[in-house]
């Protein structure tokens, strides 16, 4: 490149500390990069409205439908709103889902700075260590880690360039690359697909920088499941990132997270599919990354840095949105509100429909002879439940892909109501079973 010379910037930072792959302690990184460290530390800030005196928003309390929807599963015991990155390990330790239920070591993949542990457990082979730790009991695995997310999880220690570290992501993105569904929002994968495919897609080598600004987040902010026996953590992308493809994938491998304690249906649990939802939205198609909105640039003295106080962009609208959108803050806020209100209104209807369906199944179960129809109704519950849960657990309340979120909820409503219908008969109809 003839103009490459200009790419070389002026250097303002000083290498005071030698960092390597085992340097988890962010304070050490902070010696070299004090501004980023300052931002990172702010993820301890609590900014949610306090509910009932506690600092935690109890989602089960905020929406009474949830207990019913998740009946029989750990999420009906304890389910809270996410807090800042600083709390990720502590919040996992404290959730009743871990305290009251048996969980695998796989949980730690996204809640701790875990790479050195993987290497250690795998005798230098991080994939091997990853698999080993996944299969441990949570309690055992937990003794092997001691820090929430740190710089090393997103940065390569020599240059501080971005890279992904997480084994589950590295493996699953290979599956995605090999899937058929188009991914125009991930140009490096589209490009790899055009090639000879002799080697699997290698994310750290091939991803564009702008993709990396999303991929580092997609290491964790994704839908996942644990392989039934090994408890290996897997992201269900082998058919694509659309919710319908993910469901197909689960159906094909006959996967089930739990059996609903009231209806007996075999259900799927959706968890924070932010990456998947983002991928269906107009921002992804326009090349806007997670970091653009959640870690916008910020001027600090003579230099610009990425704001490492990862948080809701609504708390930082001017930097997060206004370079691209010229409206004033109130207007931008209002646009987000409208999108989220529409999502909420459909979500409420979806939840009501599934709750109704659960009650119908429960009532119908009391009599004999309806087994076939109950089975069908349970299948509808599975489809509807996964979709409303997809929106419940996606943390932007529809913002990351407004129309797609509404489409998913429309489908959910239709499935739930059809499930109910199967359990009812028109007055004129003969009993079929």
């Amino acid at each position: 490149n003839i103009y490459q010379r200009k790419e070389e910037g002026k250097q303002h930072f000083f290498k005071l500390v030698e960092l390597d792959e085992d340097t988890i302690d962010p304070a050490l990184w902070g010696k070299n990069f004090p501004r980023q460290y300052d931002g990172y530390k702010k993820t301890t800030e609590l900014y949610q409205p306090k509910v009932g005196g506690s600092e935690v928003i109890d989602r089960l309390e905020a929406d009474p439908n949830l207990k019913k929807l998740f009946a029989g599963y750990a999420f009906s015991i304890d389910f809270r709103k996410a807090r800042g990155h600083a709390y990720m390990l502590e919040d996992q330790e404290n959730t009743e889902r871990v305290k009251q239920k048996k969980q695998p070591g796989a949980c730690l993949h996204c809640h701790a700075s875990v790479m050195p542990t993987y290497r250690q457990q795998g005798d230098g082979d991080e994939m091997k260590g990853f698999l080993k730790v996944c299969g441990m009991d949570w309690q055992e695995a937990h003794t092997l880690v001691n820090h929430p997310i740190s710089c090393i999880d997103c940065h390569e220690p020599k240059t501080a360039g971005l890279r992904v570290s997480r084994p589950a992501f590295k493996k699953s993105i290979v599956q995605l690359a090999e899937a058929k569904e188009a991914v125009p929002f991930l140009p490096s994968i589209e490009k790899w697909r055009q090639g000879d495919r002799s080697k699997p897609y290698d994310v750290n080598a091939l991803a564009t920088r702008q993709e990396m600004r999303t991929f580092v987040c997609a290491q964790c902010h994704v839908e996942y499941y644990f392989a039934p026996k090994t408890k290996e953590l897997i992201y269900p992308w082998a058919k694509g990132l659309n919710v319908d493809r993910i469901e197909e994938y689960y159906d094909e491998i006959k996967f089930t997270d739990w059996t609903h304690s009231e209806s007996g249906a075999n259900l799927l649990k959706a968890q924070h599919p932010e990456f998947e939802m983002w991928s269906q939205g107009i921002h992804a198609r326009s090349g806007v990354s997670c970091a653009d909105c959640h870690m916008p640039y910020q001027r600090e003295g003579a230099v610009k840095i990425s704001d490492h106080h990862v948080r809701s962009p609504l708390r930082n609208l001017s930097r997060a949105c206004q370079t691209c959108h010229r409206s004033d803050e109130v207007e931008i806020q209002e646009r987000v509100r409208i999108i989220q209100d529409r999502t909420k209104s459909l979500l409420k209807k979806g939840e009501t429909a599934v709750v109704d369906l659960i009650a119908s199944i429960q009532r119908t179960k009391k009599r004999n002879g309806a087994e076939e129809r109950i089975k069908k109704a349970q299948e509808f519950q599975r489809k509807a439940q996964f979709r409303i849960d997809y929106i419940i657990s996606e943390n932007s309340l529809g913002f990351h892909a407004p129309q797609e979120s509404a489409r998913i909820l429309g489908d959910a409503i239709d499935y739930a109501r059809q499930g109910q219908m199967i359990l009812r008969k028109e007055d004129e109809e003969e009993a079929e079973d």
Binding site: I2, Y3, Q4, R5, K6, E7, E8, G9, K10, Q11, H12, F13, T159, A160, G161, L162, P187, T208, R209, Q210, E211, R213, G287, D292, Y297, R299, A302, V303, K304, I305, S306, T323, C324, H325, R326
Partner: protein, 168 residues
């Protein structure tokens, strides 16, 4: 503004460019000739095209809107057309001028360019590098850590309005 740093590497590149200079000049010439001849080019005031004066660009009414919007935009006081749109280094500047001169003359004469006029990918990269060159002080650290290392990102992605106001 930060004075251009002359590093060893930079010197090396200049040297390397010295080797290509004849080729570049050929291209440059070919550009003008292909651009429907020097007559067309001069008639359309191709002469003033090489000037730093923004009014030179205005010789074509087609550039009128870009001139008007530039006058209202934030960089009116800081940068002229060529500060943003032509490479700041010597060789690149003339190569780009020749190539762009070709497209400009061809476009203007044949009226066959697509509208709205859209910057070509190559010129978008030149533009980006010009932002960097004036703002190196501010964004230097970012570049050091690999930011903007490929063409998936550019300053203009967020700051498109600095030259001609916001398109939306």
């Amino acid at each position: 503004m930060v004075p251009a740093e002359t590093t060893k590497q930079e010197g090396k590149r200049r040297l390397r460019w010295g080797m290509y200079l004849p080729t570049a000049l050929c291209f440059s010439l070919a550009g003008v000739v292909l651009g429907l001849g020097s007559y067309t080019f001069w008639y359309a005031e191709g002469g003033s095209y090489f000037s730093t004066d923004p009014r030179a660009c205005m010789n074509c009414h087609i550039m009128r809107e870009h001139f008007d919007t530039w006058q209202k935009a934030s960089h009116h006081a800081h940068a002229k057309c060529i500060d943003c749109h032509l490479p700041h280094d010597f060789v690149g500047k003339y190569l780009a001028k020749a190539e762009n001169g070709y497209f400009h003359s061809k476009g203007f004469t044949l009226q066959d360019f697509p509208e709205p006029i859209r910057i070509k990918p190559k010129n978008a990269r030149i533009l980006h590098l010009n932002c960097v060159s004036c703002h190196r002080e501010l964004v230097g650290d970012l570049l050091h850590h690999g930011a903007f290392k490929d063409e998936s990102d550019s300053c203009v992605r967020c700051h498109i309005s600095v030259g001609h106001g916001s398109p939306r």
